[in-house]
Every structure is written in C-alpha cells, then in structure tokens.
Symmetry: C2
Subunit: 351 residues, 2 copies
DNA sequence: ATCCTCCATGTAATCGTTTCCATGAACTCC
DNA sequence: GGAGTTCATGGAAACGATTACATGGAGGAT
C-alpha cells in the first residue's frame, strides 16, 4: 500500500547508494572509477572494454556484492526471461512431472518459470493468466481448464507468445499445441480388456469442456464400437479430473443393477478415487472389477493390485512445449507437436 | 541478446503508443483526456478523483485493453509482490503439497510465487536463489538442500526477508523456521513396531547435511534406545531422499546375513524405492519385512499393503511459512513455528 | 607533421510507472 | 467581498538499468 517515500536526493550525486541500501550500478561505477555505461558493458559481455577496466569492474562488483536489478533491466530491454505456466492441478502427479520438465528445459534456455495452479477452476486460471501478463512474462504455457476462450483472446491481443500443452482450446489456429494422442493406446486398452473377457466397460471422463476429456471419451467409444461392445449411457460418468469425482462416479457404477466389470478412469486422480470406493465396498480388483487409468505414475507399480495405465511421454511433452514457446519468443515460427501414449498392462485388468 | 532498438521518439509526444505496441498509461491518459497522474490514481484506488473522471478513465482502460506494466510498477515502488520458493524436489508429493499450500496462502495475501526446483542439488539451489534475488522477489522461502550457508549469507546481505520451511540451516538466528517436529511420532512408530514384535529395526536416513535427515535419525536412535533395542551401524543407510537411494539401501539391508525385520524410510520417495526392491525379491510386507515412511500421501492408502506413515500437517506448514514471510516483508517481526506430526498406522508393519 | 581511423569510454535519453508538489477553481466564513 | 480551505488535477522527477551517440586519444598512412 504505502510504497517507498521518494526522497529528492542530490542531483548528479552518488545516486542509489546513499545510505545503506543495496548497491546499484552507480555504486559499482564509482567504486571502479568508470561510468555506468562501462559497468553495463561488462555486465553484458560487450567486448569493447579493455581487459584491465573489465577486471576493475569485476573487482568492484564482488567488493560491493552487487547484483543487477532484473526489474530495471526488464523494463529497459522489454524482456523478463520468464515463462508463465498455468497448469490445471499441481497435486496431480502428471502435471507435477510436466512442470518439472518445463522448468528443466526453460532453465536450459535461460528462462525462469512462474507457475500458476488453476486447481481446475476457470476463475483461478483467469486470475493467473492476468497476473502473468501484468508481470510481462515473455511467453505463456497454458493447459486450459475449460474451453472458454476469453482469456486466450486477451493473451493473443497482448501479443504474448503462447503454446497450449496437454489440453487446448479449439479454434485457435495461431496457438501451437503440444500434446499426446491417446487414441491408439486407448484402443489397445479396450482390446486388452476385451481379450481378458471384460464386456461391460465403463468410463469416467474428464469435463466435457476439456479437449482431453472429449478425446479420451471419443477414443474409448470408438474402440468399444470396433469390438461390437455396447455403450450404454449409464456406463459413462463425467468427473472433474480429481479423486473425489472418481470415487463418486465409481459409486454410481457399483450401485447399478448391472454394474460394469471394468472401469477406465481418464486420469490418475480419478483412478485413485475409484480405488477408494472399490476398497470401501470390499470388492477385489480385478476379480470383481477391472480398473485402468490414463496417465501412469510410479506409485501405480505398488498399488494393490498394480494398475494398468496409459503412459504419456511427460518429459518430452514439457521439453517440446518449451522449445516451441522459445521459438515463438525469438520470432521463429513454431509447429504443433503430437506425441503418442503407450499402454502399460499390469494386473488390475486380469492376468 | 539483441534487445529492442531505441528510437529517439518525439519529445513530449504520445509516448509509448506510437504504432501498434501495447497500450501504456500515456495512451490511456490521452484517450481519457487526463494526465498520467490521474490515471495512476484511478489504478491505485486513490479516492481523490472525481467519480466522472474515474469513469472516463475506466472506459479508456477497457477501450484500449490496457494492462498495467508490472515491471515498471515494481521498479518504481521497489516491490514485486512476488515470493520465491526454492524446494528440494518437485516430484516429491510432500513438496508438491507444500508448494500448493504456499501458493494458496500467498495468493490470499496478493503475492505470486516463483518456484525453483533444486532437485536435491546444492548447485541448482544456488542458481535459483541467485535468480530469484536478481528478480527482486519480496521474500524467500527456502528448504535448504544442504547445510552450506553461503547462499544464505548472500540473501541476508541482500536484505531480502527469508523463512526456512521444513528444513533449515543451523546458526541462522535471524531466519524464522517453520517446520514439523517428528520426534514424538517417530517414538510412537518405534513403539508400534516393538509392540508388533519387531526387534531388528533399520533406517534409511536423508543426507546428514540436512536437518530433517539428522533429526529423524536422532529421534529414531533415541527411541530404539528407550526400548533397549540395539542400533548396529549396518542397520543405518544414508539415502538422498529419492527413490533410487531407497532401493539401494534396502538392497544392502536384505543382503545382510541378519537382515532387519523392519525398515523405516525417512521420506516417501525412499519408501517407494524400498518397496521396489522388496517386490523384486518376491518378499512380502509385513510378513517378511515391515515398512514405514515419513510423510504420508494419498497413495499410501492403496499400496500393497497400505503403508504406515508419519503425517505432517503440510498445508498448515505452507500457510504458516507464508504468514511468517509476509510479516517480515511488511516490517513486522516473525516467530518460528513448530508443528507436530502424527503416526498413521496401517498394515505395512503388521496387524 | 597532418589527417584519418579506430578504439575505449562517457553523457544522456529512455523504458512505464508512482508520487511530490504546484496550480487554480470552487467553497466557506466573517 | 476578500481571505483562507479544500479539492481535483497536472507537471515533472525519480526508480536502475541499456544503449545510441559524442568525445578524445593513440596509431597509421601519406
């Protein structure tokens, strides 16, 4: 609120040094007996500085413990060397792994990453996009929570480069999409379930406002069709990609007069919820009901039983997304990238 | 590298608007036919603006899609409304949950959070601290990877408020510590194991350069002592808080002529590694060997068998840490906070 | 010896805000 | 009706860096 009081100061004086504040470029210049321009040149590796001058400046820098002010630098150069990443849910291990991959690749390119956790709430997502834009990030990585394009329009208007990762919003031809195509893996999963004798296959989808939610459902229905399996509406429940919704959906399935003999959760958190519910009813997986999930995580190896899952190349996803975004930032074009997912069969669907 | 070329521009002209760039406060002022000072007042909720003027400015803002430049604002006000959080490992669900709690509380106070993932590497941690300091975060939340205090000294010198969370560095009396005391819970765990008949208790510790590593080991040894149990050196292996080290340590234990009948992993990732190794040898938990972990996570309910764990109040930890840091930032004093952990017994140590 | 070139360095404008102070208009009060 | 108040607004100086342009000295060519 209050801000810092502005003291008039001595015009042409030592500048920022004054009393006991943090050393500024002027202090370094004074200490090294050169101009601020020269200090700046040394800072930026400009070769037009004599070696001895350069040394003198370096000594002054260490003597004063000077650290360049990134804010001032950003204002002048109009770049923050910062990327914004808005993800849907930090507690979801898939997004955590993605975030980590993004940070790694960004650091390799000399960028920091500011995260925003949308928690699957469009309003929070909006908040983060707005904040990141105000902070003038050089580029934005977005995994949209719903298909509301209002924020995206704003971003586009602001001219900030943007890339969609994992999920995207239809009708944004200028925004590259880096994602995984799960169709083939889902088809393989349905084949796997069919081969193991399961015929009543149910699915817990994500929100229909997300592309991943729709795509996974479509692929699942197509695959059922290909195997001549029925697709009754009550074998389909919409979740919100979080554990509780998976539990609820599973409860509805199990309350049915003819419960499914296999459940496919379209993300790992909903699979966790499904397991909660199945366990609370003292049912066994896969004998009583089979279970499979989209997104593989290390814990799935050790669940009871080990869970069959569809694994995305998460790391590659994050790296590609950053590469695309950096291209855009540096004025080069960027193309969309589509990777493929793999089925990892374990015991949860049967032997 | 190149930066933006600086064009001389018309002195006293329209300023930043010029061609097709992003609208600046000058453009808003021109559009609303007021001075930039008035626009700034409206932006900052200064009451000394006539309502009709305020409306005019608001209309201009929306008409131009103006978004204040946070970088310029930060330069002027000397605050970024940003907190830095350097955590040891994003892939560790404990830190993920912590990060989420931190972000929530920070947002409630009007701050954004910039994350740095140290990946348990001191060099990376240094990099992030340096970067965050250059970006002039208003405060720093640190969970130090080792006990090297060099970076901390730098931070202290830079005058940036700092709070340690979870782990800390001894000998920094001015830095508040927000952490969990696990001693009682560890004593309870040892009692639990003893009551179930286990006598050969082994521990996988964290690095001895971390306070949490030392504290958990000490508490464990003290508890063993209290029960009159031996503490042979080969029942102690130092890990690095990551899965692979837990696997390795467990392998060493199992290769012993007299392997332990219970293993306590001092974090969840090392417990995961331990399970990997136990499973690969076709041993059963808890019949062949009991297993318990520090840090509880949702998946532990569904592992085979459900894992006994020590749960930290993660959310409260994150919230308290942010509150302490915000206090410091606003010039108020901040006290250290110590919370307590609880034992959550499940099947992995016996019935 | 003179002029030209090149190189290292300094001077000052600039980025987009915030905020101190000055200004002038509209009131109030006697 | 004049003097003092209050109030809304504008002008201009910062914040700390980068960088175009000016400057002056050394060295080379003639």
């Amino acid at each position: 609120m209050a801000g810092r009081p502005v003291t008039p100061g001595t015009p042409g004086g030592t500048g920022s040094s004054g009393g006991g504040g943090v050393a500024g470029i002027k202090d370094v210049a004074a200490e090294a007996r050169v101009s601020v321009a020269t200090v700046s040149r040394v800072l930026n590796g400009n070769p037009a500085v004599r070696p001895d001058t350069r040394d003198r400046v370096h000594r002054a820098i260490t003597a004063l413990g000077y650290r360049p002010n990134g804010v001032a630098r950003s204002l002048r150069t109009d770049q923050t060397r910062t990327l914004g990443l808005v993800i849907s849910d930090v507690l979801n291990p898939f997004f955590t792994a993605l975030a980590r991959a993004v940070e790694d690749e960004a650091r390799a390119h000399g960028y920091s990453v500011v995260f925003g956790n949308a928690d699957e709430q469009p309003a929070l997502e909006d908040h983060h996009v707005r904040t990141l834009l105000e902070r003038r990030v050089d580029g934005l990585l977005l995994s949209p929570t719903d298909d509301n394009a209002s924020q995206v329009a704003e971003v586009a208007r602001s001219g900030v480069p943007m890339v969609f990762v994992d999920r995207w919003i239809p009708g944004c031809p200028d925004v590259p999409v880096v994602r995984t195509d799960g169709r083939a893996a889902i088809a393989a999963l349905v084949g796997h379930l069919h081969a193991l004798g399961h015929r009543r296959l149910a699915v817990i989808t994500g929100p229909s406002t997300t592309t991943t939610g729709n795509e996974r459902l479509d692929a699942f229905l197509d695959a059922l069709d290909a195997h001549g399996l029925p697709t009754p509406g009550h074998y389909r429940q919409e979740g919100d990609f979080r554990a509780e919704s998976g539990r609820l959906a599973t409860a509805r399935f199990l309350d049915l007069p003819d419960p499914p003999d296999a459940v496919f959760a379209t993300d790992n958190l909903m699979a966790l919820g499904a397991m909660d519910e199945i366990r609370s009813r003292a049912l066994r997986v896969p004998e009583d009901i089979a279970l499979a999930a989209f997104d593989d995580i290390p814990w799935f190896l050790h669940t009871d039983p080990p869970l069959t899952a569809i694994a995305q190349p998460t790391e590659e996803l994050g790296h590609s997304a950053v590469r695309a975004l950096v291209s855009l930032i540096e004025g080069r074009p960027a193309r969309s990238v589509t990777l493929t997912a793999d089925l990892v069969p374990r015991r949860s669907c049967g032997e």
